[in-house]
């Protein structure tokens, strides 16, 4: 990475572009931006800017590019892998004020939005037309469409409807040198011909430039939606019923499992949903479609629950009741704060048929490292989210947490899965990328990135390990060493006044 050039007047120049209110460089206050949901990795930005339009983003990037200063796009900062954390004294380009819904087409079924539009707000906006935006991360009430695009985020309903990439049609992107490009096409398939460059941008974790206008597909609401909640006295019974549902050819809109510790934390929180606290696991199933189909599928699923000795089955079609059943799932991560001060949310994928085996081994890993581990996951996709609650002030406990996480990800790979389903690599999984990909694969990715981001100014230090370091598969993640070592302190920013 290029080291940031000395440019004492940078903050002043930025203020000239955006006005002083939208350039924050109070050194102490900048601490508020030093991490996302992955609180282990902290790095204070040099400044934060809040542009409101494509032109402003472009002007800011041109300035930073010419001054050779790195920058990082940021949405709502809910990322769980360190994506929007400003490594290397970078400037954060915060999209929080780019929150206009520019256009809604209820006939052609798309919406054009600025990147800072909150996922759920888009759905709320189109609800009167009987439409919604399908990808629904559990953070949907907070996270932004820009962040979703950059992370290619998923959510409970992505089992049936696909991830963010399946719902993004076009985007205006400011490239890391300030050039503005328009990718994709607003109507019809994203790229009817030519190379799907926007497809490459999806999931690039803010390293390919900044999306400033995004066109997304809107979906019609289904005639009927039914939510079912079954509780079981063993995790394996819950997993087996998922297997059975899928092998029976049913395609629910969502299949989510919460374990007992998660249930208890949620029930103690304001997101209490009335989940039975004595259950070892609850399985949340959502069905949607024409009335007859939903009724028929629900009956079949109820039979499967009974065959797997479900303790209790609840069903709801009323929106209020459905919301209640979902509430606990959506608040699950936050509720973990009741267990310990910090939370490490893992994100591994295993083949669905190996869910039971994976969960057993994960429990064993947790016990061996003496960490407090809970599970909540998208069972339909085999996308596990083991959550480790720990005290981040305790370096030794943090190191154990990261080591356990490392082993869990290794396990996912050994079982034929992957190290991330939806939360991205960021800085969190830099040590693991080389476990998953061959050096040649990584080299191709690095070359693609260099096309977009040749000077590595845009979100440096994320997603791909430093070149040449790829081949080195470490058994013990370097992150542990970093944590046990003195935390890397960000460089002093130049003062303006």
């Amino acid at each position: 990475m290029t080291s940031p050039a000395k440019s004492p007047n940078l903050e002043r120049d930025l203020a000239q572009l955006l006005g002083r209110d939208r350039v924050l460089c109070t050194r102490d206050a900048l601490l508020a931006w030093e991490c996302d949901g992955f609180t282990v990795h902290k790095s204070r930005p040099r400044a934060v800017v809040l542009p409101e339009s494509t032109a402003e983003v472009q002007a800011v990037i041109k300035l930073l590019h010419s001054a050779n200063v790195p920058f990082v796009p940021r949405g709502a900062g809910t990322c769980l892998s360190g994506g929007p954390t400003a490594s290397g004294n970078a400037v954060i380009i915060d999209c929080a004020r780019m929150r206009k819904v520019i256009k809604i087409s209820t006939e052609d079924l798309f919406a054009v939005v600025q990147p800072g539009v909150v996922n759920l707000n888009l759905t709320t906006e189109v609800t009167p037309y009987g439409l919604h935006y399908a990808p629904d991360p559990s953070s949907q009430s907070v996270c932004t469409i820009g962040g979703n695009l950059a992370e290619n985020s998923g959510g409970p309903h992505c089992f049936k409807y696909g991830m963010t990439t399946d719902h993004v049609l076009a985007a205006t992107i400011v490239l890391p040198d300030g050039e503005v490009v328009h990718l994709g096409s607003t109507t019809g398939p994203r790229t009817p011909h030519g190379i799907d460059v926007l497809g490459l941008f999806c999931g690039s974790e803010g390293t390919f430039g900044i999306a400033t206008e995004i066109t997304v597909r809107l979906c019609r609401n289904q005639q009927e939606v039914r939510t079912m909640l079954a509780s079981f006295d063993s995790m394996s019974a819950a997993c087996r019923s998922v297997g059975k549902i899928i092998s029976a050819g049913l395609v629910p809109a969502a299949l989510e499992i919460l374990d007992q510790a998660t249930i208890r934390a949620v029930e103690a929180s304001i997101y209490r949903a009335g989940y039975p606290e004595n259950a070892a696991a609850v399985l949340l199933v959502e069905l949607d479609g024409p009335h007859e189909v939903v009724v028929e599928d629900a009956a079949e699923i109820a039979t499967i629950f009974v065959a797997h000795d479900a303790l209790k089955v609840e069903e709801a079609t009323d929106p209020k009741e459905r919301k209640r059943l979902w509430k606990g799932r959506k608040g699950a991560f936050g509720a973990m704060g009741r267990i310990d001060t910090d939370l490490y949310v893992l994100d591994g994928v295993v083949p669905r048929t190996k869910l039971e085996e994976a969960l057993e081994k994960i429990t064993e890993i947790g016990q061996r490292h003496r960490v407090n581990l809970t599970n909540v996951f998208h069972a339909g996709d085999g996308n596990l989210h083991p959550n480790i609650s720990f005290d981040g002030r305790d370096k030794e406990a943090t190191a154990r947490t990261i080591a356990a996480g490392h082993e869990i990800l290794q396990l996912c790979m050994d079982l034929g899965g992957s190290i991330t389903g939806e939360h991205g690599i960021g800085t969190e999984k830099l040590d693991h990328v080389s476990m998953m990909f061959e050096p040649e694969d990584l080299e191709v990715m690095a070359r693609v990135r260099a096309v977009f981001n040749p000077d590595d100014l845009c979100n440096p230090g994320k997603v791909l390990p430093q070149r040449n370091a790829c081949a080195e598969v470490s058994k013990w993640p370097q992150m542990v060493a970093k944590v046990l070592d003195v935390e890397d302190t960000p460089q002093e920013p130049e003062s303006t006044s």
């Binding site: 924050l24 102490d28 206050a29 304001i270 608040g331």
Partner: protein, 417 residues
């Protein structure tokens, strides 16, 4: 700066409950307007934690972000991790104020107003008399000029009511009128500092409704301002003085009712503020008027109101005390009423104690949004249970050209004359 106070250590522990998930962000009015992380609950908690950890080099530099917080507690309601934001904020503000009292005319004025005027009924009355006199003489602008009334307050405050409405309620014990079915319950009424001179009619209505429903009402003479504004301004010591006086004033009462959400919330927190057994016992006696009446049930049917009424939740009632159901239940019992719930009825209106004087620009923006949401449901009347909110909503409805009366819920529970 040395951060050693016990309350700060406790509030530091509370910051650790935050797991940085961000689910509170969409509920924070200042973050909604500004889009600035350091102006969000997650960001503020992060900064306050950093402060306690000694990572903040110049505590004064983070103060503006904390000052912009409305202390509306919407973040507490939204937080799955149960972070007690209000306690963290108040302890931190107190510590900052102690370490380096704010300077400048605005700070001085605030301190003076809060302690020497608001917390002193006689002087407060005098101020209102002066204001009223100047208004009658058409001198509202002069009052502003002479700093008898800050400019931002001049826009917010509705005209001071005439003396007949400002007259304080008689202290002592009031008995239900003859012929009323007695309930064999005696309650005490906390009358509040601003409510008395500004909304005397609300206190009168409260008393009338309680009596008409058969309750005996005690109004202790020695009661004082609740101290909430002082706590918010980082002056807990002075607030404690007032709190202790209130504890004594209501020593003989088992039920202490109030009709001002901000005061009610503060008094329910005397437990935390005083840290004494007395404080705890007092806090347990406090109830909002709506809580009490909804539990006890109305025996006197309210007068008919064939109108569309929008109920707006005061922050310190819904987020601060978790009371949302009771006022609605009571209003539903008003014959003929068409009760509607505006969009985001639990979002702050921007009043927040004296916030609209300290942060006029932000408060105005928040107030405008509130007025727009209220206007959407085309109400004939707006009701909300907190004097500050009544003023702010009234002012912003008027400023956006909608002439809708704003009342306290209790006013609709008055029996027919």
């Amino acid at each position: 700066m040395v951060l050693s106070s016990e309350s700060l250590v406790e509030s530091y522990t509370r910051t650790l409950d935050c797991v940085h998930c961000g689910l509170c962000l969409p509920h924070c009015p200042t973050h909604q307007v500004l889009g600035v992380e350091a102006d969000s609950p997650r960001g503020r908690i992060y900064l306050m934690r950093a402060l306690a950890e000694g990572r903040i080099e110049e505590p004064e530099s983070i103060r503006p972000f904390l000052d912009r917080c409305l202390d509306c507690r919407a973040c507490e309601t939204a937080c799955p991790s149960g972070v007690r934001y209000g306690e963290i904020l108040e302890a931190t503000r107190a510590e900052l104020e102690r370490a380096q009292p704010k300077r400048g005319i605005a700070a001085w004025l605030t301190r003076t107003l809060l302690w020497h005027v608001v917390a002193n009924q006689r002087r407060l009355r005098l101020m209102f008399w002066l204001l009223r006199t100047s208004e009658v003489l058409g001198l509202r602008w002069l009052a502003t000029k002479l700093r008898l009334m800050p400019a931002s307050m001049a826009q917010i405050a509705p005209p001071v009511p005439p003396a007949s409405e400002r007259r304080p309620l008689r202290t002592g014990v009031h008995k239900p009128p003859p012929g009323t079915k007695l309930r064999d319950v005696r309650v005490a009424l906390f009358t509040g500092c601003v409510m008395e001179p500004m909304f005397g009619r609300v206190n009168r209505a409260t008393l009338t409704v309680l009596l008409a429903n058969g309750f005996e009402v005690h109004i202790p003479e020695s009661q004082r301002c609740c101290g909430a504004l002082l706590v918010h301004a980082g002056q807990p010591d002075r607030a404690r003085t007032l709190a202790n006086e209130n504890v004594r004033a209501f020593a003989d009462d088992d039920i202490v009712l109030n009709n001002s959400a901000g005061c009610g919330c503060a008094m329910k927190e005397y437990d935390h503020l005083l840290g004494t057994a007395d404080g705890k016992a007092f806090a347990a006696k406090c109830q909002d008027i709506s809580e009490f009446l909804a539990t006890e049930g109305l025996t006197a049917t309210p007068a008919e109101q064939p109108i569309r009424v929008a109920y707006d939740d005061p922050c310190h009632l819904c987020h601060g005390q978790g009371v949302t159901r009771q006022p609605r239940e009571l209003l539903q019992q008003v014959p003929g009423i068409d009760l509607v719930s505006p969009t985001k009825s639990d979002d702050c209106c921007g009043s927040a104690g004296i916030y609209n004087m300290l942060q006029p620009k932000l408060a105005a923006e928040i107030g405008r949004t509130k007025a727009a949401h209220l206007h959407e449901c085309a109400p004939d009347m707006i009701v909300t249970g907190n004097p500050g909110c009544m003023m702010q909503i009234d002012s912003h409805m008027r400023r956006s050209g909608h002439n809708v009366p704003v009342r306290h819920p209790i006013e609709l529970l008055l029996p027919p004359q």
